[in-house]
């Protein structure tokens, strides 16, 4: 079992590493122009010229997958950063202040959580408009409440530990205790949450793009590539298979990495061995 866990962690890290490298390269260089239309080359199956074939406008699939990776990773990372920042601010202040402030903030937070995340994002997109920035803001707001919940819960449980009382007895101020003892101990659960959230956001972004509510064509993302492949599913299998495979492998990597992190960082799991 130990080997199984270790292997999963290694596979997960490898997949995420490759993803970031490909996205990094895709942002500055691709074999062909991902937007370069060439009707002469449309729906070419995988071949030496186009390793993974071309789409209905003759655009190179490898180039579009790389550019798509760059877009998806950029959107997901930005969104996660926004959600985590907002979530930490709300969660920490609320968890540490307690009292009426905590109660009001958490009721509002819970009301936001009463929407399924994707529905909230859809509603916000209706307002913000379907584009890259709309997605980032909509998903950022949609997922921040979950972060706030986790952070607040962690802060509350850490507050009960004896080393917080010890810090007070020493004469440290509340702010110092917060920064020096509470926050660093929130890092472990936050790391686990951030990893899973990267997966949720990536999936949500692809879903929205698939629905046509994400990054508008012709700019490629894995989601909108799948959406435009749907009519050609009978003739050009590779168009429907490849972007989905990319998303699935990425999500698998994130899930494996998240599990491994949870095993490593969750104190309950650590105590068990």
């Amino acid at each position: 079992m130990r080997n199984f866990v270790a292997a999963n962690a290694a596979i997960g890290s490898f997949i995420i590493g490759v993803l970031f490298i490909v996205a990094g390269i895709g942002a500055i260089w691709t074999p062909y122009d991902p937007l370069g239309i060439s009707f002469r080359d449309k729906l070419v199956p995988p071949s030496p010229g186009h390793w993974l074939g071309t789409d209905e406008f003759g655009r190179d699939v490898v180039s579009r997958l790389m550019a798509g990776a760059a877009t998806s990773v950029w959107i997901s990372v930005t969104t996660v950063v926004i959600a985590v920042t907002i979530g930490i601010l709300i969660g920490v202040t609320s968890g540490y202040s307690r009292g009426w402030f905590d109660r009001i903030v958490m009721s509002l937070n819970d009301a936001l959580l009463a929407f399924p995340g994707i529905l909230l994002a859809l509603g916000l997109l209706a307002v913000l408009g379907a584009n890259k920035y709309g997605i980032i803001v909509a998903l950022g707001i949609a997922y921040a409440p979950s972060v706030a919940r986790v952070v607040r819960g962690t802060v509350l449980s850490i507050r009960e530990r004896e080393f917080i009382a010890a810090s007070r007895v020493v004469g440290n101020s509340e702010a110092y205790t917060m920064m020096r003892h509470v926050l660093p101990n929130c890092l472990a659960p936050l790391t686990v949450l951030t990893t899973s959230m990267f997966g949720w956001v990536l999936l949500a972004e692809s879903s929205l793009s698939f629905l046509g509510l994400g990054v508008p064509p012709p700019a490629p993302t894995w989601g909108n590539m799948l959406a435009s492949a749907r009519p050609y599913i009978g003739q050009a299998v590779w168009l429907a298979v490849l972007p989905g495979l990319c998303i699935s492998i990425t999500l698998l990597g994130i899930n494996l990495l998240g599990d491994a992190l949870r095993d490593r960082l969750d104190p309950r799991m650590r105590d068990r061995t």
Binding site: A114, L125, S207
Partner: protein, 314 residues
């Protein structure tokens, strides 16, 4: 017990109110004039003013809310700008279509995943356990829209076992209606099975370490009795909560599967309304889904004491 139920319902009311207010505010947050947006750039001022009056946009915000909320309580959600249909019956009929897919998928997923998860936990670290966890993680990682496309490709196009796209109401033609529903249900079923299995396994493992499990074994009970009578019931709480969340989330995210299989459900209705800037329909769909989500979670919470008698009102 009655007090517990009433208190829990009372706790859900503010949430519902905030949900309603946010849905109402949504349409007011649109940059620019929604009426102008809906009617397009070339609309004449008269028809814009007419739409304003119809939507109540010419009155102050609190009045607008009061009127809108009053109408909401009588079941009047306005009518669709695109088709002129009444919103409530439209949303309701589409919701029922989505609900049959989602509910069937979740029920099947529970039936398969919960026993599998408990079993995997029992065989912790054994071959079967590792197999179950691996498959579950894999299933969880495949997005539904791709899984749907793959099923479409193999079951529909290659093997020709099932009709590819379209929808027929079960009431009209039970046989064909069912055929059309198989693939969407299968798609959601496979995905959610992974999620539920992992949760069922994790919470069972949590319980299996406790003394009362050893106590049950020390009484001479069979492993089956230990597992089902003692471990299962105590570990089911977190899974039960998760099932409620999954059900609600699916209703929000079902648009993707409905797009793949061209099913006229509430998700597709919402997405089309967003495309068409059909604000009354957007509001109706969001209210409907959020309401169902809150109610489902309320019911889940109300059932919780069945698994854990220690739970009462906070």
């Amino acid at each position: 017990m009655l007090r517990f139920i009433l208190a829990r319902i009372a706790m859900a009311l503010p949430t519902l109110l905030i949900v309603t207010v946010s849905v109402f505010l949504l349409i007011r947050m649109v940059p620019g004039d929604p009426a102008a947006l809906m009617l397009g750039d070339n609309a004449d001022p008269a028809s814009i003013a007419m739409l304003h009056a119809k939507l109540g946009l010419d009155k102050p915000l609190p009045t607008q809310f009061a009127v809108w909320f009053g109408n909401l309580l009588t079941g009047d959600l306005g009518s669709s700008i695109a088709s002129g249909q009444q919103v409530l019956p439209l949303v309701w009929s589409r919701f029922l279509i989505s609900a049959q897919v989602v509910v069937a998928a979740v029920l099947l997923a529970c039936a398969a995943a919960v026993p599998a998860g408990v079993f995997a936990a029992w065989r912790q670290n054994g071959k079967l356990d590792i197999g179950c966890v691996s498959i579950a993680t894999l299933l969880m990682s495949i997005p539904t829209f791709w899984l749907g496309l793959l099923l479409l490709l193999f079951l529909g196009l290659k093997l020709r076992w099932l009709p590819v796209v379209g929808y027929v109401g079960i009431a009209e033609d039970p046989w064909r209606g069912t055929l059309y529903l198989i693939m969407p249900i299968l798609t959601l079923f496979l995905h959610e099975m992974g999620v539920i299995l992992r949760m069922a396994r994790a919470s069972t493992l949590e319980v299996m370490r406790l003394d009362y499990i050893t106590h049950a074994r020390a009484k001479g009970l069979t492993e089956g009795a230990v597992l089902w009578r003692h471990a299962f019931k105590n570990s089911f709480g977190p899974t039960w909560t998760l099932i409620g969340l999954v059900l609600g989330n699916l209703l929000g995210g079902v648009a993707v599967v409905e797009t793949v299989f061209t099913i006229p459900g509430i998700g597709r209705l919402l997405v089309d309304a967003i495309f068409g800037r059909d604000y009354p329909v957007i509001q109706g769909c969001m209210l409907m889904v959020a309401l169902v989500y809150v109610v489902v979670n309320l019911l889940v919470d109300l059932c919780y004491p069945l698994f854990d008698p220690r739970v009462t009102i906070e």
